[in-house]
Symmetry: C2
Subunit: 336 residues, 2 copies
Amino acid sequence: MRIALDAMGGDLGTVMAVQGALAAVRKNNDLHVILVGPRVHLEQQLVDSSSGSPEVINRITIHHASDVITMDESPVEAIRRKKEATIMVGFELVKNGEADAVVSAGNSGATMAAAIKKLGRLPGISRPGIASFFPTLKQPVMLMDIGANVDCRAQHLYQFAVMASSCSRLLLNCESPRVGLLSIGEESCKGNVLVKETHDLLKKSSLNFIGNVEGRDIYKGNVDVVVCDGFVGNTVLKVSEGLAEAAMHLLKREIMKTWRARIGYLFIREAFAGFKKQVDYAEYGGAPLLGIDGTGIICHGASNALAIANAIEVAASMVRNQVNPAIVRALNTSVV
Amino acid sequence: MRIALDAMGGDLGTVMAVQGALAAVRKNNDLHVILVGPRVHLEQQLVDSSSGSPEVINRITIHHASDVITMDESPVEAIRRKKEATIMVGFELVKNGEADAVVSAGNSGATMAAAIKKLGRLPGISRPGIASFFPTLKQPVMLMDIGANVDCRAQHLYQFAVMASSCSRLLLNCESPRVGLLSIGEESCKGNVLVKETHDLLKKSSLNFIGNVEGRDIYKGNVDVVVCDGFVGNTVLKVSEGLAEAAMHLLKREIMKTWRARIGYLFIREAFAGFKKQVDYAEYGGAPLLGIDGTGIICHGASNALAIANAIEVAASMVRNQVNPAIVRALNTSVV
């Protein structure tokens, strides 16, 4: 299993990529990581970080690429102009059979555009999208699309449901994922035009469609897959991040107000750490691109080594569990 | 200042309405509350709750109405069928000049429909909507629309911006509210078709438009008014509620795991209470209906007496500060 890692993506630089690759190969004996980035620079960092363990270093190779697509570049323009960018080279390796999947913490629009350009779509898929796991009170919930497609038709949302359902079934080992349609009320009459049309398609499909779910249901974990357009999904993601950050900030501000509370915090901080670990996106291993004819995982720009390592494992798991063939089969058997 | 209170709305029953009315008139000497609901029942509860203080009781009157529109009824159908429902009678009182505003914790769709039917729209407004304050790290932020209009055109979002800006300016005493357009990136090129079209309108307007904001910006408080369609706004509201609930639940689960953390909690619980007070929707006084030719406030279905009392104060403040005339003026001077 060879995973190409875009070593130039991510806000935290190549050192996080190197450490993430090391963590992943240390944990998984069958993994091989190909770092895609500036060779000399990466070789040095690998020597600095690996403490010379040969059985680990032997499973990390470097594929040179020196150009990078930055976070603020227009994806379509960037992939046309920068043919030697790390993310383009990563998907080229998959195309040539030299790697099985790509992981990147870089510009997510460019990653999607590069994937489509190099690998194309799966047969029958009109719009590939990005899925993401959300931590909940129970098992993680997969939300799709979280930002690739901001203007959708019902047929697109239906395909998101098919793709996310197949992916969730194989990755979480969940026999028949419950699929919910994100709306503003549980009744089938609630929602905008797009949601109402999608509701009809999902109801006729062979998916385990449980009807409309609301924003508050995502975190309860009473559903396995939640479907929405990329504008709404991206908003859900960012509102959640913003609220979590603001809440922690506010709570800390309250705790710092009195000595009593500060002392209490010393007793309770392990519980806070346990809480943080449960809601930390880094534990959830990045967001799969679904609908491309290959495997790609997008990580948060601020990914640390743990997040990168988990994303590499998810990429490997997607290839091993043959998520793409399952998507194609599901699309053919669940035609609406 | 006479505020009609729908005493049958709300999941917690008439007792909450009575207690909310009492709290509001106790705190504000110039307030008069008209409880709209079953007379005999309300009279008894008023006697039970008021501890016989005459100067308070004198400022609460009862207007009999016995029918109620429940949470699960279709708004349009319900207001046609139940002409004597509390919420219909409430707006009738405003129409007849017997009350200055209405507060209801009942079916929000029916409240909006009743308001439009009884009072009509403000001149020039095509779609009235619901605005709501969100707690943030700084001042509260007003989001509009939070659910009345699920399929919008750019012109509607532009009018939401004008209405929420006028309301925020007068209620929060903020000279020139910063208006942000909710999107999935700060650059003007980011967003769906609706957002891009709205961006152009807002840019040309005389509002203090600061450009696109993202979901995570809402809770930072670096913006005063955030504009979005009702589907997205309602999703933001419900995702926030769901995440906050789930986070508190998870944190408590972690705390209960060890004795050490349980003891720490005893020291820290005042900080938790302070935090809860800051994020409690009950402190924020309900959601104004904007764009109707009158004043109406919708409260959360689970509103307690504090939430009801605060909503009554917001309603009074909207009338006193002449929010509606300001909206009409702003619409006339900021024509796009």
